[in-house]
Structure formats: C-alpha cells, structure tokens
Amino acid sequence: MIPLAWYLIFSAALFCIGLFGALARKNAVAILMGVELMLNAVNVNLIAFWHYYAQARSAPYVHGLAFTTMVFVVAAGEVAVGLALVISAYRRRQTAVMDELTLLKG
C-alpha cells in the first residue's frame, strides 16, 4: 500500500500551486480556480488522515468524512458567491482583471 507521506506531499504541492495561482494571476476567475485547487488539497489531506485514523480502529470512523463533506459545502458556496461577484464586477466595469478593479482606492 501507499505511504501516508506521499499523500501529504502531494496535497502540499497542490496547495502551493493553488496558492501561487491565487497570488499571481491577474484574472479574477483564475484566482478562484487557484482557491479551488487549495480546497482540493485540503480534501486530499482530510481523506488521507481519515484513512490513517480509520485503519487503526475496528469501529467505523467517520469524522474525516464529515469534515470533507463540509469542505465541499464551503467550496460550493465560495465559488458560487465569488463568481457572482466577478461577473457583477465585470458587467459594471467591463473587466475581470483584479488590478483594474480599483474602486476602493478612491
């Protein structure tokens, strides 16, 4: 079977790639894609730890699964509202590039 370390390294790498995307991209939709990658990395971590703790017990162990479900819910809410904001900003200002959305700079 697979060492736990592989999953943790994989999810750390995925998280960091997502972080880079969220920090460095200009387009707001791309930033949200980066956030989605980060949330996926979190999910991989949660499920890996769920497996790690489940294999040590005989009774069913579901805490990791319940957490992952909630991450799915949060990811859905985040992407729905985030994209609605981006679309709204685009339709008002005709741009989805974050640097040009400088309304608050005054």
């Binding site: 697979i2 880079f20 791309a30 609605a84 679309i87």
Partner: protein, 174 residues
C-alpha cells in the same frame, strides 16, 4: 512498487502537471479545462484512499457542477484583449517564492511528525462508512448542527449570488 502505487503516482503526476497548467495557461478556457483534468486526478487519488463516496462526489460536484460554473463564468467575462498578454502580475516571482517556501516549510514540519512514515493499509470495506456517515450527520452527538448550518450556508450562497447577478440585470434594463 505495486500496482496501486503506480496508479497513485500516475494520478498525482497528471493532476500536479495540470494544476501547473491551470495557473500558467494564457487562455482562461484552457485553464478551466486543465482544472477539470486536475479534479479528475484528485478523484482517482480518492479512489486509492478507498473513499469511493468522495471520489464519485468529486466528479459529481467538482467536475459536473463547479467546473461548469467556472466555464460559464469564463464565457461571461470574456473581453477581446483578455487572452493576450501577460496573465500574471508583475510580482509573480515573489508569489512563486512564497509558494515554494511554504511547500518546503510544510514538508519540513511534517517530516518531524512521527506518523509521517506510516503506511496506509487496505481498509476492510467502506460500505458501512457511508451508513455511519449518514447516522453521524443527523445525530445530536455528531454533526447535526453543521448539517443544518450547511443548508443555511447553501441558501445564503444561493440568495447572495442571485441577488448580485439578477439585480444587476434590472439595473441595466432600467
């Protein structure tokens, strides 16, 4: 190295490569399609972790719904000049440095933990897990509060997003 490890490595490589493409592709549509591939790779990784439910849910929710929503948004926010020119901010090198440093720090700290070298062994069967998850989600000792709050959160997201999107249309018309 056994077959399962091979599958894991393939899936991990595919999803990491396409994740890199997501953050570096010039055309937003391509980034979105690479994102789909990443999500499929993560679904395979859930399979190797013996969590069939979340593997399928990953395909259902992420590929079937979130990716479609993202693609729709890409189509809604296109501008002729958008796909040309640099897609990253001038300070992207700093961002890359932050990401690499964070990766090093995470892996470094994890390596200190004694469970880091543990092996994951095959679970007997995860059919019961779904049943237990269902019980835990609605049991007062378990997750009933997050369960109901999830509903409230979803409704809030629905109402918020529709208010933002639909009101705007009325603005433009009036």
């Amino acid at each position: 190295m056994n077959g399962l490890q091979l599958v894991f490595l393939l899936a991990a490589l595919v999803s990491l490569f396409s994740a890199v493409m997501v953050v570096s592709a010039r055309r937003m549509m391509h980034a979105a399609l690479w994102l789909v591939l990443t999500l499929m790779g993560v679904a395979v990784i859930f399979v190797t972790l013996q969590s069939s439910f979340f593997a399928v849910v990953q395909v259902l929710v992420y590929v079937g719904a979130i990716a479609i929503l993202i693609i729709f948004s890409v189509m809604l926010t296109r501008r002729v000049m958008e796909d040309q020119g640099d897609q990253v901010l001038p300070g992207w090198r700093a961002a890359a440095l932050v990401a690499v440093l964070l990766f090093a720090v995470i892996v470094g700290f994890l390596a200190l933990w004694q469970g880091f070298s543990a092996m994951l062994v095959e679970l007997p069967s995860d059919a019961d897990n779904l049943l237990e998850l269902g019980k835990a989600l609605v049991s007062p000792q378990g997750y009933v509060l997050p369960f109901e709050l999830a509903s409230v959160l979803l409704v809030a997201a629905l109402i918020g997003a529709i208010t933002i999107a639909v009101d705007l249309k009325e603005d433009q018309r009036g």
